[in-house]
C-alpha cells in the first residue's frame, strides 16, 4: 500500500548542489515532497565527485557524500544554457511550490530563472536563495566554501585549544547544520503562510548571517563588552568537564560534572584520596581548580575502557560518553535500538548506509523513501509525465543533449 506522507503534494524545483542546499531539501523529500533535483551532464553536482566512493572507485553514481544528502529525490538532467533546457526548467517551476538554489548571486537571474521569472509562471511560489554573504552589500561578490564560512562566521575562531590556533569542528559544519536546516525552517514557515494567505515569498538566506547565529550568544556577549575566547573543553558551569584518556589507542571519555550530586557520583566511581580536600568539595572550588582537577581525573581514567567508564559514570548519575568514532558509532547500542543507520539498496552502490531522519513524527512519520537518484534517472519521467513532452520530443531533445 502506498503510504501518504505529510508533505505529499508539495513539489520542489531543486537547483541546489554541493553541501548545504541538498540537506535543505532532503527533509522535505523524506516527508513526501516531490523534490526534483536539476543537474546537467555538463555541470553535474560537484559532490557526486567527492569521496567516499563505493569500494574507493570514482564515478558520478558512487559517492556516499552525495548519496546521504539526496535520498527520496528525483534527478532531472537539463542543459540550462540551452533555451529549450531553460524552458523546461521554467515549466518545472510553473508546477512547483518551492524553488531552491545555492548558486552565487545573480546566476539564476542570468539563466532567466530568477525570482521574477519564477513568479510570473508560478504566482505564489516560495523561492529561496542562499548566497554566501548576501545578494547585496559591499562584499556580495566574495567567494568561499563551507570552511571559509565557518571562519568568517566566527565558529572556527572560537573553537580549539586556548594555547594553539583554532581548529574548528573538523567538518564543514555550516553546510551540515545551520545553513540547510535554517533554510528548511524558512521554506516550511513560508508554505504555512501561503496556505493561509495564498501569498508566496522570496527568502534570502545569506550563509554568513545564518552561520553567525550559531555563535549568537558570543555576539550578544561581545556587544556587552564580555566577548568569549577559545577555551578548549572548559565550561562556565561544570568542572571537571573534559575529554579524558582511557585504555587503548586514541580512546577517550567525555565527562561533565555540573552538580554536587554528580561530583559525588564521580567520586564513587573514580575515587582517589588526593581528591579529598576542601577546595574541591564545592562547585566554585572545582571550577577554580579545573586545570589541576583535569589532571587528577585523567590519572584515574587511563586504566578504564572508555565504554565501561561511561556506563559506570552514567549509572552513577554523571553525564559521560565514550568519544565515538564512526566504527563504534555504527555499533552503538542506542543508535541501533533507534534504527538510526539504515541500509538502502542503491542500484550502483548496492546496499549502503544512510543516516535515518533524526526525529520521528508519531502520526505522520517520514521515511528514506528511496536511495539517492542516479544522474538523470528521472529525466524522462519528469519531462514526459510531469512537463508534458511527448515521447518523440523527448527523444529529440535527448539526442541533442538538452535533456537526459
Amino acid at each position: 500500500m502506498q503510504r501518504t506522507f505529510p508533505l505529499s503534494g508539495v513539489r520542489v524545483a531543486d537547483f541546489s548542489w554541493v553541501g548545504a542546499g541538498p540537506f535543505l531539501t532532503k527533509p522535505l523529500a523524506d516527508h513526501g515532497a516531490d523534490v526534483v533535483k536539476v543537474e546537467s551532464r555538463q555541470r553535474r553536482d560537484p559532490i557526486r565527485s567527492m569521496a567516499p566512493f563505493r569500494d574507493g572507485e570514482r564515478g558520478p553514481d558512487r559517492s556516499g557524500y552525495f548519496a546521504n544528502r539526496n535520498t527520496s529525490k528525483r534527478s532531472l538532467c537539463l542543459d540550462l544554457k540551452d533555451p529549450r533546457g531553460r524552458d523546461l526548467a521554467l515549466r518545472l517551476i510553473s508546477t512547483s511550490d518551492v524553488v531552491v538554489n545555492n548558486f552565487s548571486p545573480g546566476t539564476m537571474d542570468r539563466l532567466g530563472l530568477g525570482y521574477d521569472a519564477a513568479r510570473e509562471v508560478r504566482p505564489g511560489v516560495v523561492y529561496l536563495e542562499m548566497p554566501m554573504i548576501g545578494r547585496a552589500g559591499p562584499h556580495h561578490g566574495w567567494r568561499g566554501y563551507g570552511l571559509t564560512i565557518a571562519a568568517a562566521g566566527g565558529l572556527l575562531g572560537l573553537t580549539g585549544y586556548p594555547d594553539r590556533p583554532p581548529v574548528g569542528t573538523g567538518t564543514n559544519f555550516p553546510d551540515h547544520v545551520p545553513n540547510p536546516l535554517h533554510g528548511a525552517v524558512a521554506v516550511l514557515a513560508a508554505l504555512r503562510k501561503r496556505r493561509r494567505t495564498g501569498q508566496g515569498e522570496y527568502i534570502e538566506l545569506a550563509q554568513l548571517e545564518s552561520t553567525a547565529n550559531v555563535i549568537g550568544p558570543a555576539l550578544v556577549a561581545a556587544a556587552a563588552g564580555d566577548a568569549p575566547v577559545r577555551d578548549g573543553n572548559r565550561d562556565d558551569l561544570a568542572a571537571p568537564h573534559g575529554v579524558y584518556p582511557c585504555a587503548g589507542d586514541d580512546s577517550w571519555c567525555a565527562i561533565a560534572v555540573v552538580t554536587d550530586d554528580q561530583w559525588s557520583g564521580l567520586c564513587r566511581v573514580l575515587w582517589d584520596e588526593r581528591w579529598d580536600e576542601p577546595a574541591l568539595a564545592g562547585a566554585d572550588g572545582r571550577r577554580r581548580n579545573s586545570g589541576r582537577l583535569d589532571e587528577l581525573v585523567a590519572g584515574r581514567t587511563r586504566s578504564w575502557v572508555a565504554d565501561d567508564l561511561a556506563r559506570a559514570l552514567t549509572d552513577a548519575g554523571v553525564p559521560a560518553s565514550e568519544v565515538l568514532h564512526a566504527d563504534a558509532l555504527m555499533l552503538d547500542a542506542q543508535l541501533r535500538a533507534r534504527g538510526h543507520w539504515e541500509v538502502l539498496d542503491h542500484p550502483v552502490m548496492g546496499p549502503s548506509v544512510y543516516d535515518a531522519i533524526p526525529y520521528r513524527l508519531s502520526a505522520t512519520p517520514g521515511a528514506l523513501r528511496s536511495p539517492a537518484p542516479l544522474l538523470g534517472a528521472d529525466s524522462e519521467a519528469v519531462c514526459v509525465d510531469l512537463l508534458g513532452l511527448d515521447a518523440a520530443e523527448y527523444r529529440q531533445l535527448e539526442e541533442e543533449g538538452v535533456v537526459g
Binding site: 575562531g157 574548528g168 555504527m330
Partner: protein
C-alpha cells in the same frame, strides 16, 4: 500582488516552551517567525548572554504555572528532557496526548524517548561525543575538543523546528496532533559530513586532523591581527593559484615565483609536508605585516577564496553585516540587548528577533493561559 500581507509566517501559532537548555533554540526560531512562545520553567544557562539570545521573542510565564493547563490554548509544546524526567514533570508524551490530543508535542531529548540510553544523563559535551562529532574535532596530538557554544542546542533546535513545522501543517490541515521524538544523539550523528559513509564504502574511519585538509595553500595562516583562512587548493588541485602567486610576487615576496613551478599542480607534491611548509613560510612572511581585513579585501579582489577568521568583535564591525543592518536591538527584561538578525530574510513577511523575557523575569508573574 494587489495588496501584500506582511504578517509573520507563524502568525497565530501558540507555543509552550518548557525546555531547560538543550531545546531552547527551537522555540527561539519559532518566535522570530512570529509564533507566540510562552516560556515555562527555568533554564540552565550559566551566561546571561546565552539566556538573552535563546529567549528573545519568548514570553516568560510564572514558574509555578501548571504546564498541562497552559496547553489548552497551544498548538505546540516543546520539551527537552528524557522520558523519566518528563514523567516526573507530568509531561510524558502519553500524559500530554491524553490531556490534549490536538497538540503537537515536540520532545527533544538527549537520546530519544526509547532505547537503552534513553535516561542516561547528558550534556552538550557528552552528546557531541555520543553522536560522533567530537571525534572529528581537534589536533591529533591532543584530546578531541568541542565546538564552541553548545552546538547541540543548535543541532537539535534546527532539526526540531523542521519537524515541528511539518507536524504543525498536519495539525492545521487535518486536526491531527502528534508526538515528535527528536534524538539529539541522532541529530549530531546526522552532521558527520561523510564519516559514516567513509567507513561503509571505503573501510576508513575518519579521525581528527586539526584545522582542515592538509594541502599547500589551504588552511589557517597567521597574520598581523589574527588568522585568515585561505583556500588555494581543494582535493589536491590548485584553486586560483596563478592569482595567489601574482599577489605574493606583486608584494615583493622573495621566491614567490618558485610557487609557479609545475610541481605545484601535482596533488602528491601539494599534499607533502615540504610543500605545505614551504607555502606557509612564503605566505606568512607576506601576511605577517597585514591585517585580516586588508588580506581578505585584496585577495577577494583578485578572485581568491580567502576569509577572515572572525572574532565576535570583528563580526560586530563587519562592513557587510553593518551595511545590511544585520544586528538588531531588542528589549529583554527591560534592557536593550544587541542580537544578530534572523538567519534568513523574508521579503514579504515580518521575520526578526523580537523583544522577550527570560525565565528569571518570570518568577514574579501571574499565570495566564495563552489562547489560539
Amino acid at each position: 500582488m494587489a495588496s501584500i500581507d506582511f504578517s509573520a509566517p507563524l502568525d497565530g501559532v501558540v507555543v509552550v516552551d518548557a525546555s531547560t537548555g538543550l531545546g531552547s533554540y527551537c522555540g527561539r526560531l519559532l518566535a522570530d517567525l512570529g509564533a507566540q512562545v510562552h516560556r515555562v520553567g527555568s533554564d540552565r544557562f550559566a551566561s546571561p548572554h546565552r539566556a538573552s539570545f535563546m529567549n528573545a521573542g519568548k514570553i516568560a510565564a510564572s514558574h509555578d504555572c501548571d504546564v498541562i493547563g497552559l496547553l489548552a490554548g497551544a498548538h505546540l509544546l516543546v520539551t527537552d528532557e528524557g522520558p523519566a524526567e518528563l514523567t516526573d514533570r507530568g509531561l510524558s508524551p502519553n500524559a500530554v496526548a491524553a490531556a490534549h490530543p490536538a497538540l503537537v508535542h515536540v520532545a527533544i531529548s538527549p537520546f530519544g524517548m526509547d532505547g537503552p540510553y534513553a535516561d542516561r544523563p547528558a550534556t552538550d559535551l557528552t552528546l557531541l561525543a555520543a553522536g560522533g562529532l567530537l571525534a572529528l574535532a581537534g589536533d591529533p596530538d591532543r584530546a578531541p575538543v568541542r565546538a564552541w557554544g553548545e552546538q547541540t542546542s543548535v543541532i537539535a533546535g534546527t532539526h526540531a523546528a523542521v519537524a515541528a513545522l511539518i507536524a504543525l501543517d498536519v495539525l492545521e490541515v487535518s486536526g491531527v496532533g502528534q508526538f515528535v521524538d527528536v534524538s539529539v544523539q541522532e541529530a549530531v550523528a546526522h552532521s558527520l559530513e561523510n564519516a559514516a559513509q567513509y567507513l561503509d564504502l571505503e573501510g576508513v574511519t575518519r579521525r581528527r586532523v586539526g584545522a582542515g585538509p592538509r594541502e599547500a595553500g589551504t588552511g589557517l595562516f597567521t597574520c598581523r591581527d589574527g588568522f585568515v583562512y585561505l583556500v588555494g587548493g581543494l582535493g589536491g588541485s590548485p584553486l586560483a593559484w596563478d592569482q595567489i602567486v601574482a599577489w605574493l610576487d606583486d608584494a615583493g615576496v622573495a621566491n614567490a615565483r618558485e610557487l609557479a613551478d609545475g610541481r605545484w599542480e601535482d596533488s602528491t607534491w601539494r599534499r607533502s609536508t615540504e610543500a605545505v611548509e614551504l607555502f606557509r613560510e612564503q605566505f606568512e612572511s607576506f601576511a605577517d605585516s597585514r591585517t585580516k581585513r586588508d588580506l581578505v579585501g585584496q585577495g577577494q579582489r583578485r578572485g581568491i577564496s580567502i576569509a577572515p577568521v572572525a572574532t565576535p568583535e570583528d563580526l560586530l564591525r563587519d562592513p557587510q553585516l553593518l551595511e545590511r543592518s544585520f544586528f538588531r536591538t531588542v528589549d529583554m527584561d527591560g534592557h536593550d540587548v544587541l542580537l544578530p538578525g534572523s538567519p534568513y530574510r523574508f521579503r514579504y513577511s515580518d521575520v526578526q528577533p523580537r523583544a522577550g523575557s527570560t525565565p528569571a523575569a518570570g518568577r514574579s508573574l501571574p499565570c495566564s493561559a495563552p489562547s489560539r
